[in-house]
Symmetry: C2
Subunit: 273 residues, 2 copies
C-alpha cells in the first residue's frame, strides 16, 4: 500500500498556477498517494493563519508532514502559511531573483494576477472564440472563413473538446467538420473545405476505441457497430493521406496534447490564457 | 517604449506547465514587452539542438538574451537547450531535491507525463462531464439530478464558459439554468431548481456590461436594452438574496476565478486536469 501524503495548493489568486506545477511535480513521484486540498484567494494574513491551522491539523490526522505548493506573493502571507510546519514549496521564489537580475527590474507584487482579467479586449476575444466553438460545433452554423482552424473527423473522434479547449486557452476560433457518409464515399475533401485547406487538421482514432465510445452514446446502433467504425475511420484516413491533411490519432492523446499539436502544426501563435 | 524580450517555452510534453508558470512569473514584470514562442514535444537531443539554434537566432535578431522556461526532464535534452545561450529557468529543478528528501524516494523521469492520459477512467469522466456541459447548456435537455453544480443566471452572464471550464479542468458535471422572464417575475427559485438547492450557484453582472455583451449579440433588440438588463439583473439578485443562493459578480472576474470560487463555495473536491 502506498504511503499517504497530504498536499495543499495555497494561492492569493485562483491557485491554478500552483496546482499545475504541483501536479506536474507530483506525477514524478509514483510511490506516494497524494491527497490534495486547494485554498485559493488567500489574500490576508488572517486567512493564511486559518489555512495554516487546517494544514497542520490534516498533517497530524494522517501522521505525515504536509506539502504545500504556495503561489502567494505577499511575504507576510507566505510567512503565515509556513507556520503550518509543512514543507512549503514556493512556486515563484526560485525564479524571481534570476529574472530580476536578467531584466534589471524588480517584480511587482500584485496578488492573484496570473488568472485574473488583465485586459478586456483579450478576454473578449477569448469569450468570442468560445462562442464560435460552440455555435460551429458539428457543422450547425458554418462560416469557415472566420475560423483559425477546422478540425475534421468522423463523429466522436474528439473534435468538440479540442475546439473548446483551443478557444478557452488560446482564444483560437476553432470550427469542426464532422465527416458523414456522403463525404466518406470519396477520397477527396468535401467541397466546402477545399477553400480552407491550410486551416485543416484531421483527427483519427482506433476503430475499437471509437466503437466503445459510440456504444455508450447509442448502444447497439448501426452507428456504433465496430464494422461501421472500421469503415469510417479507414475512409477518413485515406482522404487525409490523399489530400495531405495533417493528422493525429486521439486514441492515446489527451485534449491538451491534441491542442498543442494543432497549434504547432498549423503554426498558430497565441498567448495561453 | 518597453524593451522587447523573447521568451521560449520548451517542453518534452505539451508545454502547458512551463507556459502556465512562465506566464505567471512574467506578469510580475511590467516594464518589459515579452514575445513568446512555444516548443512542445522536444523529446530528443536532436530536436533540442534545433530548438536551441532557433532560440539563439531570435535572441540575436532582437539584440536581447532570450529567456527559456524549460520543463524537459531528460538531462541531455536540458543540456542541449542550454546551448542556446539563453537564461534557462527549469520549472522542476528547484523543487525536486526538497521533494526527494521529504518523500525519501527518487523521482521518475518520465517525459511529457503531466498532461498526457494517465488513466482512462479519469479521462473518460472528463469527456463525459464535457458532453454533459454542452448538452445541458441553456436548459436544452435537463436532468439536474445528475449535475454536481447548477449555475443560475440571466442570459449572457457567463454561465456557459464557466460550465465548460469546470468540466474540462475538473471533470465536474456543470449544468446551467438560464433565468427567463417568467422566473424573474417571482422572488423565489424556479420550481425545477428547488430540489437541488445545495448545488446552486448564482452569477450576476453589472447591467451596463451585460448591455454591451448583448448588444453585440443582438444589436438594438429589446433583449439588449440597458433597461431590460437592469431589470433582469435586479430581479435575479433579489431572488438570490431571498433564497440565500451563493452569488458572484462576473463583471471583473475571469472564467478561472469564477470556477475556483464555485468549487470552493460548494466544497467540490476534484483533482485538476
Amino acid at each position: 500500500m502506498l504511503a499517504i501524503r497530504p498536499v495543499f495548493y495555497v494561492s492569493d489568486g485562483t491557485g491554478i498556477t500552483a496546482e499545475t506545477i504541483g501536479h506536474s511535480l507530483l506525477t514524478q513521484f509514483t510511490d506516494t498517494h497524494f491527497i490534495s486540498e486547494r485554498y485559493p484567494f488567500v489574500d490576508t494574513v488572517e486567512r493564511a493563519h486559518e489555512v495554516a491551522a487546517r494544514i497542520r491539523a490534516v498533517g497530524e490526522q494522517h501522521g505525515a508532514r504536509p506539502i504545500v505548493i504556495n503561489s502567494c506573493v505577499n511575504s507576510d502571507v507566505c510567512a503565515a502559511v509556513c507556520e503550518s510546519g509543512a514543507l512549503v514549496l514556493d512556486v515563484f521564489a526560485p525564479f524571481i531573483d534570476p529574472l530580476e537580475r536578467e531584466l534589471g527590474q524588480m517584480r511587482q507584487r500584485h496578488m492573484g494576477r496570473a488568472h485574473a482579467i488583465v485586459d478586456f479586449d483579450t478576454y473578449h476575444r477569448r469569450i468570442n472564440a468560445m462562442n464560435f466553438a460552440l455555435t460551429h460545433d458539428d457543422g450547425q452554423s458554418i462560416d469557415y472563413s472566420e475560423a483559425d482552424v477546422i478540425l475534421v473527423a468522423v463523429s466522436r473522434a474528439g473534435k468538440t473538446p479540442t475546439c473548446v479547449y483551443l478557444a478557452l486557452h488560446y482564444g483560437v476560433r476553432a470550427a469542426n467538420y464532422p465527416l458523414v457518409d456522403e463525404d466518406l464515399d470519396h477520397d477527396r475533401l468535401p467541397p466546402r473545405l477545399r477553400a480552407h485547406r491550410h486551416k485543416l487538421f484531421g483527427l483519427t482514432i482506433d476503430p475499437q476505441r471509437l466503437h466503445q465510445i459510440r456504444q455508450e452514446r447509442r448502444p447497439n446502433s448501426r452507428y456504433a457497430q465496430l464494422e461501421t467504425c472500421r469503415r469510417e475511420v479507414a475512409a477518413a484516413e485515406t482522404m487525409f493521406r490523399a489530400e495531405r491533411v495533417p493528422t493525429l490519432s486521439t486514441t492515446h492523446t489527451s485534449i491538451e496534447e491534441i491542442a498543442s499539436k494543432v497549434l504547432t502544426t498549423l503554426n498558430i501563435r497565441r498567448e495561453m490564457f
